[in-house]
Subunit: 289 residues, 2 copies
């Protein structure tokens, strides 16, 4: 719903969810919704399918967490089937079979892009590669360098079954301001509030400014800083992952609207050009996002 | 999705679907989607829940048409439960039980309006009245006067269980142009094309211009004509139903965008004022829509 509203307010950006938890949804409906979004937006929709980090939707919609992985594998298969054929015949274990039914509407794009959002599961990276699908690697904590294995598993799995190398995206949290200090001072309070709120449900220790500052360092996961700092970190990670796309979520917790708008503007007018210039100089083979 | 896009383009109109077929959907998700729409639109969302005239969604989503009526009754109950409490505990026959789970987001309106869309079933009218819910009576063929029974059943059922009289809406097809002849000439070709297309699947006889012209007469179901003609028909039906709301769908089949826009404008600037003036003069008790 929010993406459809965004489709009316924007003209060029691509529209994708943080993640569509297809495991606890009906993939046919997810496809129909995004096909509608694609028509509304002139062909800018993408599906980001994932197993979900938040698991509240499983008991709410009557799914068993014990089937976490099988549910996703089966539903991803159904999603791809709905994308690839209008007349659908399908059967599986977790959803009623479909016997030659039409799935409408069809998207404007000939093939609605389906990305798989992966957190930290090697099996997920391998499955995504075997299907030849692009992977979005969510890195929102820990040391990014340790995620290189997943990128490699994805690439190799695709290669082994003869797919051309599928795209890789790194998806992280961040916030851009004119100076590093301003970025941290603005982003930290809502970040800490939200992390502690989630942490109380999940049993995490309270967030500290020290841990936050560490995550802003070059080897950390957060992209909170000045335009130069954020650009350097993207380029640094590109040396590790060789990814084709980088997605940043500009707030964790509630930030004032003007701050988010300013962060978006700095990202587009300063960070992105810096990154493009830097990567053009080190490689001829970078695929533009 | 289309309503969320409309939310961004409009400021005052209320946003409601032709019908949300909750029987073959998950009412919790329908509620969540419309709660999101309500937040996006500043409190203008409404749910129009119905059993559906088109039944293609039942086999596609794994529901049995033999359960057509029970499915709707149970899912309507769950929809109302999700509307009326954030922490939901519920169990039924056709959907996994819910054990004290939170349903989010919550709408902006204190109570998201739920209308029940009824075609031609006395049981539906009675059920809707017993629940004290407003009813939208779809009259798209036949003689409207014959639908008076449903309005009466709805009103009486509400009365019997002590509910205040719930609102009634008449929902019909139509098209407004400067002259009656222009309205008919513009609306007929796409109307016939669409009706014949549906008719081929359902075994209807081909549409004729004669039948179309008959439906435009005062005792017919279609509101195709000049502003005066359409206004007179609404007032005539008000004498039969005493309804509080009238909804018109401005095209059956594909009409040029400019014609639909012109029809909407004539409806707002000429038809509606004519109807208001006429009804103000005959009754003091009309509730504005």
């Amino acid at each position: 719903m929010a993406l459809a509203a965004a489709a009316e307010r924007t003209r060029r950006i691509r529209l994708t969810s943080a993640v569509s938890v297809i495991s606890s949804d009906d993939p046919v409906r997810v496809f129909q919704d995004f096909a509608t979004l694609d028509l509304l937006s002139g062909g800018r929709a993408e599906i980001m399918a994932g197993r979900g980090s938040f698991i509240e939707s499983f008991p709410l919609f009557g799914f068993d967490l014990e089937d976490y992985d099988e549910l996703f594998a089966e539903k991803l298969e159904l999603l791809l089937a709905a994308r690839d054929s209008t007349e659908l015949t399908w059967s599986g274990q977790y959803r009623a079979p479909i016997d030659g039914r039409g799935v409408y509407p069809r998207p404007l794009q000939e093939r609605l892009p389906v990305w798989v959002a992966v957190g930290g599961s090697p099996q997920s990276a391998i499955r995504t590669g075997r299907l030849g699908l692009p992977m979005a690697l969510a890195i929102i904590g820990g040391e990014p360098a340790r995620f290189a294995t997943f990128a490699e598993l994805h690439r190799r799995a695709a290669q082994e079954v003869g797919h051309p190398a599928p795209a890789l995206s790194i998806n992280s949290h961040g916030f851009v301001a004119e100076t590093s200090q301003a970025a941290a001072d603005t982003a930290y309070p809502p970040f800490a509030t939200m992390m502690d709120r989630i942490g109380r449900e999940r049993g995490w220790p309270p967030m500290t400014r020290q841990a936050f500052e560490a995550s802003r360092e070059p080897p950390g996961a957060n992209f909170v800083g000045s335009p130069e700092q954020v650009a350097e970190k993207i380029v640094l990670q590109h040396g590790i992952f060789g990814h084709q796309r980088f997605l940043i979520q500009f707030s964790v917790g509630t930030l004032p609207h003007a701050d988010v708008m300013s962060s978006i503007e700095l990202f587009g007018t300063e960070v992105a050009p810096l990154v493009r210039r830097e990567l053009d100089s080190v490689s001829e083979n970078v695929v533009a996002p």
